[in-house]
Amino acid sequence: MAQASVDYHEEEIDEKPFDLHLTMRLLAYLRPYIWWVGGSFVLILCTSFTQQMGPYLSKIAVDDHILKGDWQGLHKIVLILVGIIIIQFFLHYLQNYVTQIIGQWAMFDIRGKIFAHLQTLPLSFFDRTPIGRLMTRNTNDVDALNEFLTDGVVVMFSNVFTLIAIASFMFWMDPYLGSVVLVLVPVMFLVTFWFQHRMLRAFRMARSRLSRINAFLQENISGMPVVQLFNRETRNMNRFKEINDRYLDANLESTFYFSLYFPIMEMLATGAIGAVIWYGGGQVLRAEIEWGVLVAMLQYIPRFFRPILEISERYAILQAAMASSERIFELLDTPSEPTGGAHKQGRILGEIEFDHVWFAYSEGDWVLKDVSFKVLGGQSVALVGATGSGKTTIISLLCRFYDIQKGHIRIDGIDIQDWNVEALRNRIGIVQQDVFLFSGDIEGNIRLSNRDITKEQVQQAAQDVNADAFVQQLEKKYQEPVTERGSTLSSGQRQLLAFARALVFDPDVLILDEATANVDTETEVWIQQAVARLMQARTSIVIAHRISTIRSADRIIVLHKGELREQGSHEELVAQNGIYQRLHHLQYASGNTSQ
């Protein structure tokens, strides 16, 4: 049920014709299990054959024993049959099991591969791809592949073998009577494909209309206040009726074909029985065939029905799998973010230099224009500027979430391109405005999945940033569960947790996006203290909103529309006749009493 809400918007085109290249790539996932696959094919061969032994053995029983009054022979046949169905039981079970397990292994591999690959993709990828879509890749699409690899391929073969086995037995017994198959099977296939084609079309239409219904429902449920506020009840009800009825129409169409199809197939099989009894009966009368042949034939004919049906069903699965695999491979083929150069370093000084940096998220749309500044190790820098001035971008570039187009960024004098990306990020600690908490507990949210960090270190860090106090008041303290997005904690508390997280990783460069949210006065004081503690003895770059933070920074950088307009200490900037001076002036003119 969990996946129900994921995918209502994605619809329509989820079928694709057979594609050899995709299929080969898919089958490559079975390579590690090649022996198992081979084994499962052998099992399929055996089971399709043993399954069809029954009627043939009853022919022998009838002709050689029952009609000849041979009691012992009959008992022998019965014993053989008992043996066969027992062996058949185990073989069949084994075949089902092995086939499905192979599929599960392959799914396990693909799922793991997708997840691991997602971890390496650049942020720009996540900027433009909705999470819901990625979720579908890792869940629904993978499941579609499972159906393809197990049910699709295997069942298809098993059904073909079954058909071959039945036909062989029939021809073996009597080529003339057996040739009824040559008429029956093609006719059944024709009927099946005629209907399957129409049923599938109606079915596909129904499915896309159903996802329309679901999307509409989902939207109306989430937006119910808006629906009600704008008096849309009647009109939306009518809309719903309309799409609900359209879905009904599509379903009735598929129901119609469905209602015709099965009875026709049944009629063909029964009609064939009529034909066999007439023609075969004559043969028996003329003593051209034995009784048993007729008896066995009558048992074989209804058995054609199911394999044919299943083959045609598999074709639809195959098409769906093609579309899914294409989407999955497209994701896996998305290039990873660069791992960067070879440079690694333990502690760093934290010297940062932006040297004529130009950057745009999308071509031509410059977000940073020729920005140059230098931060010495241990210095604190406040970035000041309006929304959209490029502050957040500078932070992202420092972590190398994106690559710049022109200019250089150097850290400890080494070009950021030459740094190993993970080694670089290991030295940088970042606290974002919108604190993201993982579901788990408080401790896990501070040390993340880094097991080298001890409980004591976590608690120490929490104490240092004033988070310990509120954590101690929680029922389970550091083991208190945290839900996704941390809805049980206030925004101030979440900030403090994020500070503790940054501190416990002990970075050489701290990047802080100061939160603008209004928190209560007490928390506000705690936050300010924590920020001061965090900035001690390391290079820090702060997107500052609080005047206190700005004033206490060693250097202030004023950004405006992607350009660096002013930089210097508070005193220097106030002395300049510029933006900062104007800001500062306004602050006092309006009677600033804070701090």
Binding site: L81, F90, Y93, G223, M237
Partner: protein, 586 residues
């Protein structure tokens, strides 16, 4: 017919269809049950004919039976088609009706209800549960009748031929049904476990992707992969266990049905040998058994389907029986016109008994004036905004419009006179035009243009590929936060409401545009009431009265200048915001 009772309220509209369907099931089954008997007659005729001289006469007898078989096959087909059509179509109609009623009901439920009921839950009832019901009604009912009639007729004929052999042949059948039932139960448990783990995996992935910035910044890639790997392996193992059980179904069915056939071959063969039954009887037995195996295998499956359908029906009824807490009173007062006076009289409100969100508020907002409400996160601003259009409601008589308690006003009238712009500016995936015209019937082109101009959306129109017909949302253009808010504003102003409520509705609009909007709103809202809830001082400073809420209480009240002079919470807020304010105005 007790088993059908839970579904009867929906089925009863289709009595005729069902009756026809059941009748045709019976007729089709009669025809099909006659076929093995015809085979028997044919085989018997051949057997006799082997000894007789006139082979031609025998042949024509056989041909006659063969023709009857074909005729019966045609009859079976005709009724089979009719029966499937009647019953399957009924299940589709019922599905349609249930869904319609479900949505009709949802439309009446209040915000409080939706805050407690997760969307995913409501959705899964509308999808999975409706589907379970439909599955049972289409296949379940048909198979049930089919199996019952097939069993009765088949058994009767078999007993008529040789009742002892019939009993022997059926020995494995109860085991089969029993085993299937047990397996189905275990599969259900296994399946639920798999589904639960699947949900865990999904939320794990979802979380990882939502927090990808943190994962990257703190270089947590390996740890994340490890955690995922662990879940993935658990999922694999649960699946393996499920497969271990599931894989047995078919082999088991073949084993037990095969046993029946062997018994017939063995004991039936002996009886043919000793002349107790004819070869034709033997053939007929085989025919009947083959016919019965499938329905018997399905009994377990049908029981399972039935239980699921019952559970699903219960889950849907649970929703339908829920009463809304906000609806028209019996003694509604319908005023000729709403002027827009709003008054709070000792207004106290909490979402549950423990917490108080609004604490004894008293406030008069005269028609035609504007009031701004400011305060920290959680101070009760949004709650206050929601009380006015009765999205939620406080005790009787605490909130009055034009002197009438809101709960006495017809919801329709009340809401028609209110333009509400909520915090999250929810837009529908429909065209921009439809989104703006949401709350008005057939607006003119001028109306829409005017609303877009008022909300400063008109300048953006050029950015949308199909203009007003551009689709909003995932399947169309993704609007920026500011565009969304301005669209939400446009759809509120186009109603030319007597009371306009903006709940933090311009947070993503830049100050310059905001100023422009406020200027236009002032003109438009002359003589109408405006209630602005906001964080930004720039948004609220022009209001006639500014209310500062804290902890559900009014802590300050007055004009911008008066409050600044007061040097309290408002003044503090103002100073804190100054920097951002000035920066964005450079």
């Amino acid at each position: 017919m007790n088993f059908i009772k839970p579904f009867w309220p929906y089925l009863k509209n289709y009595k005729a269809r069902i009756a026809w369907g059941v009748l045709m099931v019976a007729l089709a089954q009669v025809a099909s049950s006659a076929i093995p008997y015809m085979l028997k007659l044919a085989v018997d005729a051949i057997e006799v004919g082997l000894e007789s001289e006139s082979k031609d006469a025998v042949l024509s007898t056989v041909a006659f039976y063969a023709l009857i078989i074909v005729a019966l096959a045609l009859v079976q087909m005709a009724f089979g088609m009719g029966m499937r059509w009647q019953i399957q179509a009924t299940s589709r109609y019922v599905e349609n009706d249930i869904r319609e009623q479900y949505f009709r009901h949802l439309l009446t439920m209040s915000m409080k209800y939706y805050s407690q009921m997760p969307t995913g839950d409501l959705m899964s009832r509308a999808t999975h549960d409706v589907n379970s019901i439909r599955m049972f009604l289409s296949f379940g009912i048909r198979m049930l009748f089919d199996a019952a009639i097939a069993l009765t007729l088949g058994l009767t004929v078999m007993c008529f031929i040789d009742w002892q052999l019939a009993l022997y042949a059926l020995i494995p059948m109860p085991f089969l049904t029993l085993a299937m039932n047990r397996v189905a139960g275990r599969i259900n448990t296994g399946f639920r476990e798999v589904q639960e783990l699947f949900a865990d995996i999904s939320s794990r992935v979802q979380e990882n992707l939502s927090g990808i910035r943190v994962v990257k910044a703190y270089v947590q890639r390996e740890g994340e992969i490890e955690t995922f790997e662990k879940l993935n392996r658990q999922y694999l193992n649960k699946n393996k266990r499920l497969i271990g059980i599931e894989s047995i179904i078919r082999p088991l069915a073949f084993l037990l049905s095969g046993t029946s056939l062997i018994i017939v071959l063995w004991l039936g063969g002996e009886r043919v040998l000793s002349g107790q039954i004819s070869l034709g009887d033997f053939v007929a037995f085989n025919g009947y058994l083959t016919k019965l195996i499938f329905p018997i295998i399905l009994v377990g499956w049908m029981i399972d389907r039935y239980q699921r359908a019952i559970a699903a029906m219960r889950r849907i009824n649970a929703i339908l029986e829920e009463k809304t807490d906000i609806e028209d009173a019996d003694d509604v007062i319908t005023p000729e016109e709403i002027r827009g006076d709003v008054e709070l009289r000792n207004l106290t409100f909490g979402y549950d008994k423990k917490t108080v969100i609004l604490d004894n508020l008293n406030l008069k907002i005269p028609a035609g004036s504007s009031v701004a409400i400011v305060g920290r996160v959680g101070s009760g601003k949004t709650t206050l905004g929601r009380l006015i259009p009765r999205l939620i409601q406080a005790g009787a008589g605490q909130l009055l419009i034009d002197g009438i308690p809101v709960e006495k006003l017809p919801l329709q009238v009340l809401r028609e006179n209110i333009g509400f712009v909520p915090q999250d500016s929810f837009l529908f995936s429909d065209s921009l035009r439809e989104n703006i015209a949401l709350g008005v019937v057939d607006p003119t082109e001028e109306d829409i243009t005017w609303a877009m101009e008022t909300s400063q959306l008109l300048n953006d129109l050029g950015d949308f590929p199909q203009g007003l017909d551009t689709m909003v949302g995932e399947r169309g253009v993704t609007f920026s936060g500011g565009q969304k808010q301005r669209t939400a504003l446009a759809r509120a102003v186009i109603r030319r409401p007597k009371i306009l409520i903006l709940d933090d509705a311009m947070a993503s609009v830049d100050t310059h545009t905001e100023e422009e909007i406020l200027r236009r709103l002032k003109v438009m809202m002359a003589g109408r009431t405006t209630i602005i809830i906001a964080h930004r001082i720039s948004t609220v400073m022009g209001a006639d009265q500014i209310v500062v809420l804290d902890g559900g209480k009014v802590v300050e009240l007055g004009t911008h200048d008066a409050l600044l002079a007061n040097n309290g919470t408002y003044a503090e807020m103002y100073q804190r915001q100054q920097l951002n304010q000035e920066l964005s105005e450079i």
